[in-house]
Symmetry: D2
Amino acid sequence: MVGGGNDAFIGAIHRIAANMDGLIEFSCGALSINPEIAVASGKLLFLPDDRNYLTYDEMIKKEKALPEDKRMDFMTIVTPNFAHFAPAMMALDNGFNVVIEKPMTFTLQEAKELKKKVDDTGLLLCLTHTYSGYPMVKQARQMVKNGDFGKVRKIVVEYPQGWLSRLSEREGNAQAAWRTDPKKSGKSGSMGDIGTHASHLAEYISGLKITKLCADLNIVVEGRALDDDGSVLLRFDNGAPGVLIASQIAAGEENALKIKLYGEKGGLEWAQHEPNTLIVKWLDHPTQILRAGVNYTSHLSGFATHNCRTPGGHPEGYLEAFGNIYRNFALTLSARMEGDEPTKEMLDFPQVDEGIRGMAFIDTVVTSNQSDKKWTEFVV
Amino acid sequence: MVGGGNDAFIGAIHRIAANMDGLIEFSCGALSINPEIAVASGKLLFLPDDRNYLTYDEMIKKEKALPEDKRMDFMTIVTPNFAHFAPAMMALDNGFNVVIEKPMTFTLQEAKELKKKVDDTGLLLCLTHTYSGYPMVKQARQMVKNGDFGKVRKIVVEYPQGWLSRLSEREGNAQAAWRTDPKKSGKSGSMGDIGTHASHLAEYISGLKITKLCADLNIVVEGRALDDDGSVLLRFDNGAPGVLIASQIAAGEENALKIKLYGEKGGLEWAQHEPNTLIVKWLDHPTQILRAGVNYTSHLSGFATHNCRTPGGHPEGYLEAFGNIYRNFALTLSARMEGDEPTKEMLDFPQVDEGIRGMAFIDTVVTSNQSDKKWTEFVV
Amino acid sequence: MVGGGNDAFIGAIHRIAANMDGLIEFSCGALSINPEIAVASGKLLFLPDDRNYLTYDEMIKKEKALPEDKRMDFMTIVTPNFAHFAPAMMALDNGFNVVIEKPMTFTLQEAKELKKKVDDTGLLLCLTHTYSGYPMVKQARQMVKNGDFGKVRKIVVEYPQGWLSRLSEREGNAQAAWRTDPKKSGKSGSMGDIGTHASHLAEYISGLKITKLCADLNIVVEGRALDDDGSVLLRFDNGAPGVLIASQIAAGEENALKIKLYGEKGGLEWAQHEPNTLIVKWLDHPTQILRAGVNYTSHLSGFATHNCRTPGGHPEGYLEAFGNIYRNFALTLSARMEGDEPTKEMLDFPQVDEGIRGMAFIDTVVTSNQSDKKWTEFVV
Amino acid sequence: MVGGGNDAFIGAIHRIAANMDGLIEFSCGALSINPEIAVASGKLLFLPDDRNYLTYDEMIKKEKALPEDKRMDFMTIVTPNFAHFAPAMMALDNGFNVVIEKPMTFTLQEAKELKKKVDDTGLLLCLTHTYSGYPMVKQARQMVKNGDFGKVRKIVVEYPQGWLSRLSEREGNAQAAWRTDPKKSGKSGSMGDIGTHASHLAEYISGLKITKLCADLNIVVEGRALDDDGSVLLRFDNGAPGVLIASQIAAGEENALKIKLYGEKGGLEWAQHEPNTLIVKWLDHPTQILRAGVNYTSHLSGFATHNCRTPGGHPEGYLEAFGNIYRNFALTLSARMEGDEPTKEMLDFPQVDEGIRGMAFIDTVVTSNQSDKKWTEFVV
């Protein structure tokens, strides 16, 4: 693991998620750019001293020097956005698969280079778009794919949070500090952080691609350098319109990602706050409540059930969704290592192409926001 | 009442609403443009034969000829949009107050003429933006006004319906037929019908005015002449951004008007499907559920309680909200007739200025939709 | 109307409900036992002076003396429980149909005499068990009747309110005063007031009858004379077990009547706070959300749609449910007066037999509560 | 781990839960009474061959023979109820702490012996009443303890499941088979399995003890030997009444444990299906929604936040609640091993006394059910 020392948020999440199914062992790390924190964090997490590294450079080199069955199988990068690309490239160059936090890189250009490297090496790159790991999100995707709703006609995805309602970056909140800093976070604040989750979710569930958009980004809290709120009109490649809203100044909201999709025959609604529920609406029939893990007669897709650990009524949450990303990545890796073909269910985790689209999304919303024209083409 | 014969939808609603509190008596009507339906409908509703008129023209003239204490006190117009203006003008010209269904007129120009007439005559014009009649909508408005949330920072209002998911206008659905017909409905379909409700609600609750917008209107169902779906980026006069979504092809949705507003210290959420509940979110405190009719110690505004008929836990609905519009209009009328000053609570019903803004909203979204520019000024 | 002066709660509700559909005209009253309040209330409600009576005795006699087409068609009794029987008997004796608030009488014996009188006169007695007027309650009843859930296996009905959490009867709350007074209310407090609603709802929806029960009644607030809380184990006539909970000291609850019923194949859940929704659960299929007024293909029973005034998504509430009781009563009355056979849908309002069961329920829970035996037979 | 082979349900849950926080290592097991399944399961779970035992007897003896820092620190027992006591006693006798699935034993007598052994050895016994591991359950307990609601006046706890709606024990469902078998499960079916969870939750949150009860247990599905449904009237040691409902024939329900508690000033409601939410109702103020992990100003107890792994809006579920039991147990164990005093938060996991009360609950409901008397004393 690169980054994720004991002063960080998402590193601990990654460790619980990776650890959940007993498929992955946390074996080494370069846990902080600050050597003292790196060492202390590794100790706290029971890393052996000789694999508790100071830098990713050291880690990659020393791990590579280990016998094949002793070295790490993949490397997770949980640093701020600006520090994704270099360790990822180096890891791939040295034969290590990688797991990266989203957004994948600092710039679209970096993303494209990473894509080329992945293609060239044949290694795996897993991007932790957590929300696509929820079973009922997978169920939603399969229902759309099966044509249950007919042609998709409209998508509304919203992601309100309230945690940047104040200028917390000046009040000692470390995560707020880097997320709102263009040098660490990139061109966009809220759109880069959570807008990319929302656009990924919309494309993942619908199976469609955004082709053009019209963005209105705002810096609501005075003194901030990056957008902390934004709304975007979307057009998808089947012609369907959409709306994406991402805001981090929605005071009183926690992490309220929600999507509604409408087709010719019905629609669906999924909210991260109640992730085990998928609301399915029909033009001519009563709304149905599909629930994760329940043994219906022929209602849940294998993609959903593959990602449940417990029977219905035992709520699984964010950590399990995160765990599903790792689990599918690990199962794919294991299958490949043993020369087997991974199943479609195993392969269902976000990869480098999704990472490129995320970076292109950031580029396009920023360009659109600066433009007086209504529509800006979404080009990758 | 003009229009609202037994083949119509909203006429019956108006009658129940007006009748609810025993303040208004349904005394005469010209209930249909079709004389047979007019007569038959009047009979069914127990209108005396001599006040069961064939045309509004006849009604206005004959009523005016009655002694003052026998004639109607006001005239309700529930015809399709294109037939609002003429009867309204004639009624006002002859000294009758009017109640009109929204949108107020067919064109913005008509709206302005009506406004002038209202100003000149000093009569009342009540516009039935039903949703502003709900007690918890009034509560929301008062809380914003009191500054409970600090400066308003973002507003999201959405109004999805599914009833035009098919080409119902060709399948004998009379309401669908006129609503989708530009000659009867006006320049816009879904934005005219429900977008105006949504924009009214946003301005009513926030106390702000839209200053510019960026509209994306769509004709989703092939063969239709007017927009059946649309999304609009908004900017309010305090600089706050917003989003308005109105769709009638949201298959599986009923009448799901919902608004979320965020300020510096917290926000609120109200949904028409659970109208007695106002969700109030705080940056630093737990979310609160305010409920209509409940005797809290100092939590409900007098504007809310004035519009409740029952104690908490006895759900009031759409008809009661509609009734509140009529009730406040009637109380204002009575007060004026008796030379009293109506209270602020009585005066709290939509009037001609709101009607003008509705028509300007329609004009602006249509103009914006046709434009390549991102923003179009909202001018009245 | 007998009772319901301007110092009372339920009288105003009755008037709105009766008035809602334009089928019933409020024409006369003896609105209070206090002559001054009676007269003042009648004036306020626009009763003509000569039909604004001082006592029900006077009203019945003078109305009977009017020509048949001028006199009242029925008499509504909204006095406290102890004052139901005498006016009801006198009305029936003089040929007037009656509408009575629940519980029907003060004692079971009175209820039986009333039943005999109704049978002898052939007149109608309508009992306002409001909650059975909701469309989705009727839908629930029909689904059970149709066998959609197979044999009923368990029923849980709960009715928590918080309004008697304090000794409000000593703080000037007039309704609290008579409801907690055994001389006015009868043998039981909360079980008589709301337990009877709950038991009626359970029997109405299930189509089953309670055959024995085990009651635990409590006086929770010190200084009170009647139960303000109670829980009852039930056994129904098909052998199914059940539970009924009625409490008026459930601090923070409004009027949260809720029923859950389970059968072999699935179950249902209905809550008065969201009355337009019926949740239908299935053993092998996803839960369905049935909604009042929605045009499904073959999902809503005619008994439900007959009791809706608006299309789906326009919430109807308590007043409309109350209105449905009056509307069906009035339609039945009109049909009979015109020599027609009322339809099954019209006849679907609570009548004298339900009133007897309510009084027997009160008797049985009080007897059971005083007994050391587990089960007490429910005898009528 | 004793039991929990790859043909079992709860064993896998225990492993994920124990593993979640990196505090506990799964090091040895006697995973099945069937030697082939035991060995195969251990292999699948990467147990080293020499610690993949055939019986708990072998495991305890061989582990004890290992050096202190190599042997297991505690032993988890996840066998059916009848096979809890013997391994637990032997483990304690040999100096191993134990974790046991609920109900703790087969009989109350066994429970008492276990208690004596725990007291004598000074070792820890952790009982996995999972639901008490949820942060918002702990929050509820603390609020009651703090007197936020005043004296507790009524408790309603219900636990409906639908999974035994059919005679699944004859259709190859292994868990159904032993749960409904009196030789493996004990005197009671649904009350033993889930009624004990419900009674534990009620006592845990309220801080009160049941003193007497009146039980109505039913065998609803024909051909079954143990109760699959039951309702119980309760009396707590402060005089407050309560109701407990546990049913496994509630068709269409998943695992819908829910508790409502009312005090003088307000009440609370918690449902396992939305475990991160605690609804707090007030007599004089709006209902509040408390949410796990949210940084309110002074609203969440340290007992709640200690048991959250993620910030608000990242739903934690059943596995995390289970993990909290293990985590607190492990932290207590570690503290003790290092000679430290565990904090109150660490010590907050169910122990042997709760296990005894669970067995006494089973005894009492079965006795009460067979009795004609209304009340049966709850004696331990």
